[in-house]
């Protein structure tokens, strides 16, 4: 991490250089198909998921090994979340939800390895996730319920004269969902990593370095927590939105 001192003019921070996309091979321009560092770390996430959930459960032990029990725990956590939040009809969407959860979790956690790249720090990635969920769930809502899906904006429990107002607010909040959904994830991840970089730059100053290193350790711990929590939050919000599509009359 050579930020700190590249110019004579004292501290120079480049906390966001860590999210620059670079081609893996050569220096050419980044086309849509170019394998980049983002490709590499997403592939590593796929590999980790494969190792944990497929290789780790190879024994099919009745008394699970350590890796297998982690895999079972992740499975159980997401399965229970989907079942609790969306009800029994939502369970058939469990593989999609688990895909999202595992991708975000592993992208976040792998991104915490020093010198790595965090795929979920890019709005391009989280927006695809967020808007993908939004579009899929809206389509699902109309497929499952037809026009009755719109009744979710019409609060039958509210007084009649308030219903149009509430409907407008509900529609706005509905369309804001994917934005908040994706920015929350990218924002949290980017902020944490940027703070780590800033503290790392301060470590170059002798007087500040002990404080800076301690702060980095603390923030790193916090970031591990954030990595898990953001994956969980993204997933549980997906489940909540999914419940609206499965049961629009709440």
């Amino acid at each position: 991490m050579a930020e700190g001192t590249d110019d004579a003019g004292g501290l120079v921070f480049h906390p966001l250089d860590q999210v620059i996309i670079r081609p893996l091979f050569g220096d050419g321009p980044v086309y849509w198909y170019t394998p980049t560092n983002a490709t590499l770390w997403m592939a590593l996430a796929v590999l980790s998921i494969y190792l944990l959930l497929v290789v780790g459960t190879q024994g099919r032990s009745i008394v699970p090994t350590r890796v297998q029990s982690v895999a079972e725990m992740l499975y159980g956590l997401v399965y229970k979340m989907v079942e609790d939040v969306t009800g029994h009809e939502g369970v058939k969407y469990f593989p999609y939800v688990l895909t999202l959860f595992l991708f975000i979790l592993f992208a976040n956690l792998l991104g915490l390895i020093p010198f790595s790249f965090t795929a979920t720090s890019h709005i391009g990635v989280t927006a695809v996730l967020g808007f993908g969920v939004f579009i899929a769930i809206t389509a699902l809502g109309f497929i499952l319920n037809g026009p009755a899906f719109l009744s979710m904006f019409w609060m039958k429990s509210a007084p009649l004269f308030l219903r149009p107002v509430i409907a407008i607010i509900e529609v706005i909040s509905y369309f804001v969902r994917p934005v908040s959904h994706s920015i929350r994830l990218a924002g949290n991840v980017t902020a944490g990593h940027a703070v780590l970089k800033v503290f790392a730059a301060f470590a170059a100053v002798a007087a500040l370095s002990p404080v800076s290193v301690l702060a980095m350790v603390a923030i790193y711990g916090l970031e591990v927590l954030v990595a898990g929590i953001q994956a969980y939050v993204f997933t549980i919000l997906t489940c909540v939105y999914l419940r609206d599509a499965v049961h629009p009359h709440h």
Binding site: D17, V30, V46, I49, L53, A71, Y75, I123
Partner: protein
């Protein structure tokens, strides 16, 4: 990385020192690449999950739940067996106690009967012996009495002859009999 000299292809998002311009996350140039690889990644994860991981894990969990249920059922069955065995044992014990009590009572009755019979026989023997003894005592006494009378008569005749008186036999007998009564 950041301090590398300018690269040949600085783009709209990277300056000539290789550092980010603004927020690289918002760089439009890179978004198609990200989207493409993200979709590839998600599809890959989805197929890994649905083709391999999920069937296996749900199989493991179902198998474990089945095993637990079976084991619980087996344990319940064994407990029932144990309870039945305990009941059988208790019953056998009670039976044995009753049998023992019955044998004790029978033996006691038998002994009592034998004892009674022996006692009766002994009583009879004793009574017989007593009667025999009494008879012989009576004999002895009678003979002794006869002897005494005889001796008294002879003594009386002898005493009378010593005094010179002749006494006939009848008188002596009468006199002795008279005295013996008293």
């Amino acid at each position: 990385m950041a301090s590398e000299p300018a690269q040949g292809t600085a783009s709209a998002c990277v300056d000539s020192y290789g550092s980010a311009i603004g927020m690289p996350q918002l760089c439009a140039e890179w978004i198609p690449n990200q989207v493409f690889w993200l979709v590839v990644t998600l599809v890959a994860i989805y197929f890994i999950l649905t083709r391999m991981a999920l069937p296996r894990i749900s199989g493991i969990l179902a198998e474990r739940a089945g095993n637990i249920t079976n084991d619980l059922a087996a344990a319940e069955m064994l407990r029932d067996k144990a309870l039945a065995a305990e009941a059988a044992y208790d019953k056998a014990l009670a039976d044995a106690r009753a049998e023992a009590a019955r044998i004790i009572a029978a033996t006691r009755d038998e002994l009592q009967t034998k004892l009674d019979a022996e006692l009766a026989r002994a009583d009879a023997q004793i009574a017989e012996r007593t009667a025999e003894s009494e008879r012989r005592l009576a004999e002895i006494r009678d003979s002794a009495l006869a002897s005494v009378t005889e001796v008294a008569r002879e003594a009386a005749s002898d005493i009378a002859s010593l005094f010179g008186a002749s006494v006939d036999r009848a008188t002596v007998e009468a006199a002795v009999a008279e005295r013996m009564k008293g």
